[in-house]
């Protein structure tokens, strides 16, 4: 228990020189699939998937790479959705300005929440973020601009940069896809950067990192704010996709859901959270019209994941023989 517990994994995918071609091919297939997907699948559903995928990836930036489990990420996601929706609908801002406001708002929120929460680690941190996001939930419940139970409805998608009409579903899809790819690139760069290296070492041995002269709390706060901002990006986009912002996205259950997505796909992997988000969203959609009670299934999936499937889908894949053959190396 104390001391030598197995940590939350971080997988590092290193591209094997020889396997580079296979991986590039894989990447090309994924890219093509994403570009063509709306021809076959429901665009709104796909956009939802991308938005949640980005949200989960942003969340994972914190959990997978700094070992901080936030139980309050819904505040950034849902908060940003409100900010964006309000700016676009009430103030008539353009969509990009609205999303930017959402991102900045989420980052500011992250700064405040993070500054309080990073004073403690591990489960303490989780509990504190949970409590703080709960405060934010009550704020949203009561604040006039959120319209309480009704939510902000009928948000216009507007014109991107004043030119591109986003009310067209396909246009909107490619816009969301672009934002998604951009978000993932930012995360990838962030993780594989000198800053990311310091984060990793802080996770491994905080005292030692301090004694090497790193002001640990600033690095953690930096990662927290970054994660919050990206979660905000996802939230802002989601508000435009669905054209509303409601309380559901700021509840603690939503914070729990994003954890499930990440866990299911693979903590500490870049693709895992996206895959996990896809699964959860699909499952919820499927269960909506089936006779299975959603909560029970979600709960059981959670338990099974933790008990036998901790690496998540992508994590297990990387560790599998096929994964290794394809040139993925898992370091954990």
């Amino acid at each position: 228990m104390a001391g030598k517990s197995e940590p939350i994994p971080t997988e590092h995918v290193a591209i094997h020189p020889k396997a580079g071609a296979i991986q590039l091919a894989l990447l090309a297939v994924i890219a093509a699939a994403l570009l063509l997907a709306p021809q076959f699948l429901y665009p709104i559903f796909l956009m939802k998937l991308l938005a949640f995928g980005l949200f989960a990836a942003a969340f994972n930036l914190l959990l997978g790479y700094t070992g901080l489990l936030s139980f309050g990420h819904a505040a950034f996601f849902g908060g940003s959705a409100y900010f964006t929706a309000h700016a676009v609908k009430v103030w008539g801002w353009s969509p990009e300005a609205g999303i930017l406001l959402g991102v900045l708002g989420a980052a500011a929120l992250g700064l405040v929440m993070g500054a309080i929460a990073i004073r403690r680690q591990g489960i303490y941190f989780a509990m504190i973020t949970l409590a703080l996001s709960q405060m934010f939930f009550f704020f949203c419940l009561q604040a006039g601009f959120t319209h309480g139970e009704d939510g902000i409805q009928s948000v216009p998608r507007g014109r991107l940069f004043g030119i591109i009409d986003l009310s067209d579903t396909m246009t909107m899809y490619y816009f969301v896809l672009a934002v998604f790819v951009l978000g993932l690139l930012v995360i990838w760069r962030f993780v594989n950067s000198p800053f990311g290296m310091i984060l990793k070492s802080i996770r491994e041995n905080e005292q030692r990192a301090i004694s090497l002269g790193y002001s640990v709390s600033r690095y953690k706060l930096g990662a927290f704010v970054m994660s919050a901002a990206l979660a905000g990006l996802a939230g802002g986009v989601k508000a435009l996709v669905f054209q509303f912002a409601t309380l559901t996205d700021v509840t603690w259950q939503m914070s729990g859901e994003v954890i499930l997505m990440t866990l299911l796909g693979g903590i500490g992997t870049l693709a895992g959270p996206v895959v996990g988000a896809g699964l959860v969203v699909t499952l919820q959609n499927y269960l909506a019209t089936s006779d299975f009670p959603v909560t029970i299934i979600t709960g059981v999936v959670f338990m099974v994941c933790v008990l036998v499937f901790r690496r998540g889908l992508i994590g297990e894949f990387f560790a599998s023989r096929l994964g290794r053959k394809l040139g993925f190396r898992s370091e954990s």
């Binding site: 429901y42 709104i44 559903f45 939802k48 009550f138 419940l141 009561q142 319209h147 309480g148 139970e149 009704d150 939510g151 409805q153 009928s154 989601k238 669905f242 054209q243 509303f244 409601t246 309380l247 559901t248 919820q284 959609n285 269960l287 909506a288 019209t289 009670p293 959603v294 909560t295």
Partner: protein, 380 residues
């Protein structure tokens, strides 16, 4: 002639969350009953009912609604419990040009600023609840009020509306206290209400909050002390859950009661047979909504949205739920609602026989005048 050769109705609501007893799976049963009673066919086309659990998430609801409309030839979606879902699906249906009939959500926004040419609001709304309980109770002698209000928009609007009717009838509001949503303990607030000396304590909250307030009010001897409790949103299902012991003497408003007349009783017993519980206004409302929609198709001779919506606006609504009901230009069904009082346990003759109907409030009083609703579709 009917598009795709059949008429398909979707019942979209919460079937696993906090509102699952309010409408839930039983609303789907109500819709099935309506279809069966209608004969299973309209304009010779078969009628089908599908259902989904939106898990109280507007995005899931919105996704399903789109899929239903685009891929599964659903013609109309009904029930739509909870405001955020109701508004979202109604807005989407304007875009998709489909009829929605909301029987589960309370917000007057549906037929107010965010009204839709194809959107209808059927069973009740916050305005009717406020008039029913606030206005009618004053006439019964409850002329000084204290509110226990859930601290969010829904609570405020219930309190404000009700307070206005209380004052309009010559009553006074002596005070109010706002409690957080999902509080477990109401004793502090109840003590304040008790101390205020008001004759009526209005519970401007919902669900578990209302249940717990009522239960704890009994514990603190509030009703024995001569004060009356009035729940502003409470249905038969809630009374059943709470038990008549704790609920006795409670006043509330519903737009349906199964034991009100022979016809409703017959319907109620059939419903009980199928579901194990008696219908509340949401269930009966859903039955009525489906029936009215089918009648409108029949009258229009087509299931084309514009024509059906026009017929719905035009035809009088007469069924077990509504007598001489009519639909306002904003989509609001205007019908009578009833002020109830929960019987003392000793007076209850059979299970589910909870209410005395104290007063009938005519639809024109209960519901907002469409012209004043703020709906942009209403032309003066």
């Amino acid at each position: 002639e009917v598009s795709d050769g059949k008429v398909k109705i979707g019942i979209l609501n919460d079937q696993s969350g906090v509102y699952s007893d309010f409408g839930g799976k039983n609303s789907y049963e109500a819709a099935l009953m309506a279809v069966e009673d209608f004969g299973g066919k309209v304009l010779d086309a078969p009628i089908e009912v599908v259902t989904a659990d939106h898990q109280n998430k507007p995005d899931i609801a919105s996704n399903i609604a789109r899929q239903w409309y685009d891929n599964e030839q659903v013609d109309s979606i009904m029930e739509l419990t909870t405001s955020s879902v109701g508004l979202a699906v109604q807005a989407l249906s304007v875009e998709e040009k489909k009829v929605t009939i909301n029987t589960g959500a309370a917000t007057t926004e549906l037929t107010g600023a965010q009204c839709s040419p194809y959107g209808f609001h059927w069973a009740y709304d916050t305005h009717a609840l406020a008039v029913g309980t606030g206005g009618a109770l004053v006439k019964e002698g409850g002329d000084s009020w204290f509110f226990l209000t859930a601290d969010y928009a829904f609570g405020y609007s219930l309190e404000e509306n009700t307070g206005n009717f209380v004052k309009g009838q010559g009553g006074t509001v002596v005070g109010s206290v706002r409690h957080p949503l999902a509080s477990t303990d109401f004793s502090s607030f109840l003590l304040q209400a008790q101390a205020s000396g008001a004759k009526v304590i209005g519970l401007a909250n919902a669900g578990a909050d209302t249940q717990n307030s009522i239960k704890q009010a009994a514990e603190f001897g509030i009703t024995q002390g001569g004060q009356k409790l009035a729940a502003l949103l409470f249905t038969l299902a809630d009374v059943h859950g709470l038990g008549a012991e704790a609920a006795q003497g409670l006043n509330l408003t519903e737009s349906f009661y199964w034991k009100r007349n022979a016809e409703s009783e017959e319907f109620g017993r059939r419903f009980l047979e199928r579901t194990g519980s008696m219908p509340n206004m949401v269930h009966a409302g859903t039955y009525s909504a489906v029936t009215s929609y089918l009648k409108a198709i029949e009258a229009a001779g087509t299931d084309e949205t514009e024509a059906v919506a026009a017929k719905l606006h035009e035809l009088p609504i007469n069924d077990v739920f509504a007598q001489d009901g009519r639909v306002g230009a904003n989509g609001r069904l205007i019908k009578d609602v009833y002020l109830m009082e929960v019987k003392a346990p000793a007076d209850i003759t059979e299970e589910w026989d909870y209410y005395n109907v104290l007063a009938t409030i005519p639809g024109s009083e209960a519901f907002m005048d469409p012209a004043k609703s703020g709906c942009p579709l209403v032309t003066q």
